[in-house]
Structures are given as C-alpha cells and as structure tokens.
C-alpha cells in the first residue's frame, strides 16, 4: 500500500487526519508533519525523511502539502523521486478521505492522479452547480 505523509503549515495536517478519522475511522499508514514559522529547515527535512521511511512499504509514498510555493511544498519537492515519492499540493479533506480507503492495489502514479482529480472535482461553486442542474 502506498504510504501517505501530509506536510502543512501549522497543525492543519494533523487536524486533517484526525477529522478524516472521525468520519471513516482509523486510517492506516498515514502520518503528518507540522511546519511552524520558527522551525529550522534541516530539522524538518530530517523528520520528513524519517517518516517517509516508516510509511514506505515498498510501493512508494505520496506527500500531500497545503500550498504550492510554501515551505511544506518546498521541503516536499526535495524528496521527489520518480516512482517512489511524489508530491501533490493543495491538500483538502476529500483528498484525505479518498486516500483513507482504496489505496490497495494502486501504483503511486495511478493513485496520485486519481486523488488530484478527486481533489479538484470536490471544489464546487454552489450557485453554478445548481444553475447547471435546472
């Protein structure tokens, strides 16, 4: 099973996991790292590196980050490794829920593209959606 590590500013990552677990129950092989303004980059990279190793079961790891261009993403990018570690930015709750179940039997690449699609489709402007239906 592909491992998941969520890296965000503040405690958002941790809250995403606990919120998702509140909805679907315990989630396997998913961890979080919080980045605060005062953290030293090298120590965060060390923590990320360690967790990647613990969630990697041989099928790769997907890193979810909050915002492209932010420190969590910048750190994530330094771990990009073709077929082994990929980074998806703009994490939201639907993405985490999608990854909570249904990771088995999918390659890292398939899964990454699937949840990117899921994440994008989950953003809806209600007035447009309702207009489209009537």
């Amino acid at each position: 099973m592909v491992g998941v590590l969520i890296i965000t500013h503040g405690s958002f990552a941790e809250a995403l996991i606990s919120t998702a677990e509140g909805i679907v129950g315990p989630i396997e092989n998913m961890r979080s790292v919080s980045v605060s303004a005062e953290d030293d980059l090298e120590s965060i990279k060390g923590a990320v590196s360690k967790i990647i190793k613990t969630v990697d079961q041989g099928e790769g790891v997907i890193l979810l980050t909050d915002m492209f261009g932010g420190t969590p993403s910048n750190i994530g990018l330094s771990f990009l490794n073709n077929g082994k570690v990929d980074i998806l930015t703009g994490v939201n709750l639907p993405i985490v829920l999608k990854l909570a179940k249904g990771r088995k039997g999918k390659t890292l690449d398939e899964l990454a593209k699937l949840v990117r699609k899921k994440g994008r489709e989950s953003i809806v402007l209600a007035s447009e959606m309702l207009r489209g239906k009537t």
Partner: protein, 156 residues
C-alpha cells in the same frame, strides 16, 4: 527598483508570496544564490512560483547585481532574496547598494545566538551585521509585514 532585500533561508515561501509581495506590490522576485542557480531542479521549482503578475527569477549573485545595477529593473518593483547574510554581503561587495536589509528566517547548525524565534546569528553573522550597521544600512528583523519591526543595533 529594489523594494526589499531580504535574508531568508527558506527563500521563496508563504511569508514572501502571501506577505511581502502584496505588501510591496512587487512584480519581480530575484533569488540571488549561486547554489540554487547551480541546481536545475531547485531553480525550476522556485521559478515555477511565478504567476500572471509576478516574475520569479534565480540568478547567480554576480549576475543579479550586474542586472540590477545595469538598470534592467528600474521600472519594476523587485524583492531580492538571499538565503544568508554571507550572500547579502556578497551583493554589497559586488556593487549593489541598499539602505536597509530585512532578515526573516535564519538558522544554522552549530553555535548560534537566538535573536528572535526565527532568527539565529552565528559569529560570522554578527560580524556581517556589524559591518552593515557601520555602513549605515538599517538592519530590520521581521518575518511578515504585519509583525512589529525590530531594528537590530548590534550585539548588546
């Protein structure tokens, strides 16, 4: 014109993109770093933070100074980023002139002195900062525009 010269070991990140760029209405970020300029991947990752109203460019320190002094950016609003004080001093020594320098995030391994929660000075940093102060360059410590500015006057 250069609207901000900033020392930040995170280079382009949230505080810069969401804080300083809108604060100064900057249209350019120049990352002056020989290290980043020498790494195609790192350079591409940083430059892809550009958007419709913002150009992000990585350059070797000497090239950045040459282009700025040449007047290439006279009609632009430029934020110059360096990852450490040593690079900031290099810009000065290569001919860039500035009245103030902002320090946002600075960490090192080894022996350092805590200045604020996100800025730590090594002995070398202290010496460089002293040099700037002696040159009448204002040294400001501030992570984001909304935070209180700390004017650093040297080791007490």
């Amino acid at each position: 014109m250069v609207v901000l010269l900033r020392v930040d070991d995170r280079l382009v990140h949230g505080q810069v993109m969401e804080g300083w760029v809108p604060f100064f209405k900057a249209d350019h970020i120049i990352v002056a770093s020989d290290d980043v300029a020498g790494s195609a991947f790192h350079k591409q990752a940083i430059e892809s933070c550009a958007h419709d109203n913002l150009i992000v460019k990585v350059a070797e320190a000497k090239d950045a100074v040459k282009e700025i002094c040449n007047g290439d950016y006279d009609t632009c609003r430029v934020i110059v980023l360096v990852s450490g004080l040593r690079d900031a001093l290099r810009l000065y020594e290569d001919g860039l002139r500035f009245l103030s320098i902002n320090i946002g995030n600075l960490h090192h391994g080894g022996e350092t002195r805590k200045i604020t929660k996100s800025v730590y000075f090594s002995r070398e940093d202290e010496a460089i900062v002293k040099k700037f102060i002696d040159l009448d360059i204002a040294v400001e410590i501030r992570a984001v525009p909304g935070e209180k500015s700390i004017s650093y006057k040297g080791e007490q």
